[in-house]
């Protein structure tokens, strides 16, 4: 997982290699903060993030209706979970959304970002328009599209093939991909835009002298220079898309049927609608495991050092 990687390299050492060190012997010891500076953050994080994480694992071994106290029931929930074919479906749907979401959002955001870093006419005004989805909350976007997709009174009514888009499994998945793309691409576009602007101009000038075409410049200069941004953006994208919740709740409500249940949504329904909080906690634990596994995959793909520099550099 991310942590182990960072741990090996992240001890505050590296990262300022080029600068000459002061002659330490000649000076009084620099004042350094004590570890107490960490205490407030550690307390917050420990109590409201780390401790709940431990507690959720404990709760997965209990039976609890949400009222009264949880009672330990051993591995009942886990036995049930491993026999529950729906859990596999739900994980499958979640991973599908992650992969397809990444595969559609990344190229679009990258191309738009590189374009926005250029100097075309209208660029400023178009960029401002492209930024607009960022002003809406997730809930607002999900509700807006829910109404736009209404088959009789919404925008979808005007476009034949899309009329029943929320009524079929693939259609509803596509709708979620579309809506989340609509929402998040502007943010990633910004990341790419900022990074593309920082690519040294001399690289392009040199390429021009070599007679490289626009596409070749893009392929051999822009893309490689954006590599770290791709990793940053992808990490944010993937970790974020594992946890789509309100988009599902407000856009498709998990439907049609159970076609768009994701892991967090399944957890919510089992817990707060069916009142099986023990079983829901087991599903939450699965979510943590899946998130960790995905992080591992990212680390594997991007490699140790890149991961470190990415995370530190964010």
């Amino acid at each position: 997982m991310v942590a182990t990687v960072g741990a090996a390299t992240g001890k505050g050492a590296g990262r300022t290699p080029a600068r000459p060190r002061p002659r330490e012997s000649a000076r009084p010891a620099t004042s350094r903060p004590s570890s107490w500076y960490l205490a407030p953050a550690a307390l917050f994080f420990g109590f409201f993030a780390a401790f709940p994480l431990v507690l959720v694992v404990y709760l997965s071994f209990t039976s609890w209706e949400g009222i009264g106290d949880p009672t330990l029931v051993g591995v009942d929930n886990w036995v049930r979970l491993f026999g529950d074919s729906r859990v596999l479906d739900v994980i499958g749907t979640t991973l599908l959304l992650v992969v397809l979401g990444w595969a559609t959002q990344t190229p679009i955001a990258l191309l738009l970002g590189v374009w926005a870093a250029g100097q075309q006419r209208n660029r400023a005004i178009l960029s401002s328009i492209f930024f607009l989805p960022l002003l809406l909350s997730t809930a607002a976007i999900a509700l807006m599209f829910n109404r736009l997709f209404d088959p009789y009174f919404g925008l979808a009514a005007e476009f034949g093939p899309f009329q029943n888009i929320l009524g079929t499994g693939p259609g509803a998945l596509g709708a979620i991909l579309f809506v989340t793309g609509w929402q998040f691409i502007p943010f990633h576009m910004l990341l790419y835009q900022a990074a593309a602007r920082n690519i040294p101009k001399v690289l392009y000038q040199a390429a021009l002298m070599d007679g490289a075409s626009g596409f070749q410049q893009f392929r051999h200069i822009t893309l490689p220079q954006l590599k770290n941004t791709v990793i940053t953006s992808s990490t944010i994208m993937i970790v974020g898309s594992l946890t789509y919740f309100e988009t599902i709740l407000l856009l498709t409500n998990g439907g049609p049927g159970t076609a768009t249940y994701t892991v967090p949504f399944e957890m919510y329904i089992r817990g707060f609608r069916s009142f099986e909080f023990g079983y829901a906690s087991a599903i939450a634990t699965v979510l943590v495991v899946v998130a960790t596994a995905v992080s591992l995959v990212i680390v594997k793909f991007s490699g140790f050092t890149k991961m470190r520099s990415t995370l530190e550099g964010m």
Binding site: I67, F149, D150, Y152, G257, T258, S274, F275
Partner: protein, 436 residues
């Protein structure tokens, strides 16, 4: 819970489901964990339905004028009400008074001893108790105790139709399943959606099996299911009902886009009001909503009848399904228990309250309503509902409220799959048996 025989609607609740569950009710948790903040205020949880909450405000204004305790309405949208009620009930910040459906919707709270047993208060005030229709009051019983006071109108599921659309076709609303099918074919061929349906929310689909199973097999079929009897879902009436629903879907009975329609977008209600759909099988609240939202249609073209007879069925054609009513229950931990009971005693059967409901189109579950029916906007509708309930041999509580919570969701999921054409009768039965 189970089907409620008319006269002793209630007894069954106590007998069947609640039995055994309540023995341990005293074990519970800190029922004292002081709630709702300051004791001068009393929170009253209701559904967020403007049309209906007008009546609650009438009662509350009257009460607040007299009492030191100020009641406040807290309204939450229907979709999500039970989730939020449950999280609040699990906290120390419980509502003082809250809306519920009786049966499964409060059984776990009764079990944990979170509710005030209203039985002694009702016995002490016979005129209070006698104000309500006994069948409806008793439907709120759990294990022989009253935990809820009827708080609003009775809500049987009614077959609504657009009179103008039927007149155009020159046909009458169906009274038998055969007539229903032929009406469906006819509307479909003429480009009208036979039944409006907000299929994006599975509970709107549940009214179909509720009625069909009752018509085909009588009330015992679901009683057995609600009581958790082994193999109860396997009753042939269930399979037959699902097969009939599938047939209706295949004929285009709901159009082809119903799965995208959400209840809260109110597409279904608008479709029938616009004459793009002919019928809508929905609870009596549909009437109230139309009166508020599309008054012209409600006045002129909104027609209503009972659910058709199924030929060769064993159920009584007068039996109805739906919600007997919504109840107000009182949290034991409330600092305002006395005020809450006073509120329920003085206001829930008051003339002003009843008139407000009648005006909104609701039919309160009180005795001697005949005398006041003329206060209603549409006395014909009030009479229909009142007579429906009065004549019904049984009034089946909506299935999703009647069964335990952990079985309700799988049932709704399986039904949604049926309506999507992905599950047949056998699959539906199996899915429910697996969850039971």
């Amino acid at each position: 819970m189970s089907t409620l025989p008319r006269r002793s609607f209630l007894g069954l609740v106590g007998a069947g489901v609640g039995a055994g569950l309540l023995g341990t009710s005293a074990c519970g948790t800190d029922a004292t964990g002081g709630s709702g903040g300051d004791s001068g205020k009393m929170s009253i949880w209701v559904l967020q339905e403007e049309a209906q909450n007008v009546a609650h405000r009438v009662a509350l204004d009257a009460f607040n004028g007299r009492s030191d305790v100020t009641g406040e309405l807290v309204s939450t949208s229907n979709d999500g009400y039970r989730d939020r009620l449950h999280t609040a009930m699990g906290s120390t910040n419980r509502p003082d008074v809250f809306y519920n459906w009786g049966g499964g919707s409060i059984r776990s709270y009764a079990r944990e001893d979170l509710l005030v047993d209203l039985s002694p208060h009702l016995s002490d005030n016979p005129e209070w108790k006698d104000a309500f229709l006994p069948s409806v009051l008793d439907a709120g019983m759990i294990d022989g105790k009253y935990y809820g006071i009827p708080a609003r109108g009775m809500q049987p599921i009614i077959l609504f139709h657009n009179k103008a659309v039927f007149a155009d076709e020159g046909i009458q609303p169906p009274t038998t399943w055969t007539e229903l099918l032929s009406a469906v074919d006819r509307f479909k061929n003429n480009g009208i959606i036979p039944f409006a349906l907000a299929g994006g929310d599975a509970w709107t689909e549940l009214v179909w099996p509720e009625y069909l199973v009752d018509r085909i097999g009588g009330p015992e079929v679901f009683n057995a299911i609600a009581a958790g009897e082994a193999g109860a879902w396997g009753h042939p009436a269930v399979s037959q009902a699902i097969t009939m629903i599938t047939d209706l879907i295949d004929r285009g009975g709901f159009g082809d886009k119903y799965a995208s329609v959400r209840w809260e977008g109110a597409g279904a209600s608008t479709l029938i009001a616009q004459g793009r759909a002919a019928m809508h099988l929905m609870g009596s609240w549909e009437y109230t909503n139309q009166v508020t939202d599309q008054p012209e249609y409600a006045k002129k073209d909104q027609g209503f009848t009972a659910f058709p007879v199924v030929e060769d069925g064993q159920g009584d054609p007068k039996a109805i399904v739906g919600n007997p009513t919504n109840y107000f229950s009182v949290s034991k931990s409330s600092p305002n228990v006395d005020a809450a009971i006073q509120f329920l005693r003085e206001e829930m059967a008051s003339d002003a309250y009843i008139d407000a409901w009648l005006k909104a189109g609701d039919v309160p579950a009180v005795r001697n309503l005949e005398e006041r029916m003329d206060k209603a906007n549409d006395p014909a509708f009030v009479k229909l509902v009142y007579d429906m309930v009065a004549d019904a041999p049984t009034f089946q509580l909506s299935w999703d409220q009647a069964v335990e919570r952990n079985q309700a969701q799988p049932m709704l999921d399986a039904l949604a799959q049926v309506f999507l054409g992905k599950l047949d009768a056998a699959g539906f039965v199996k899915a429910n048996e697996d969850a039971a």
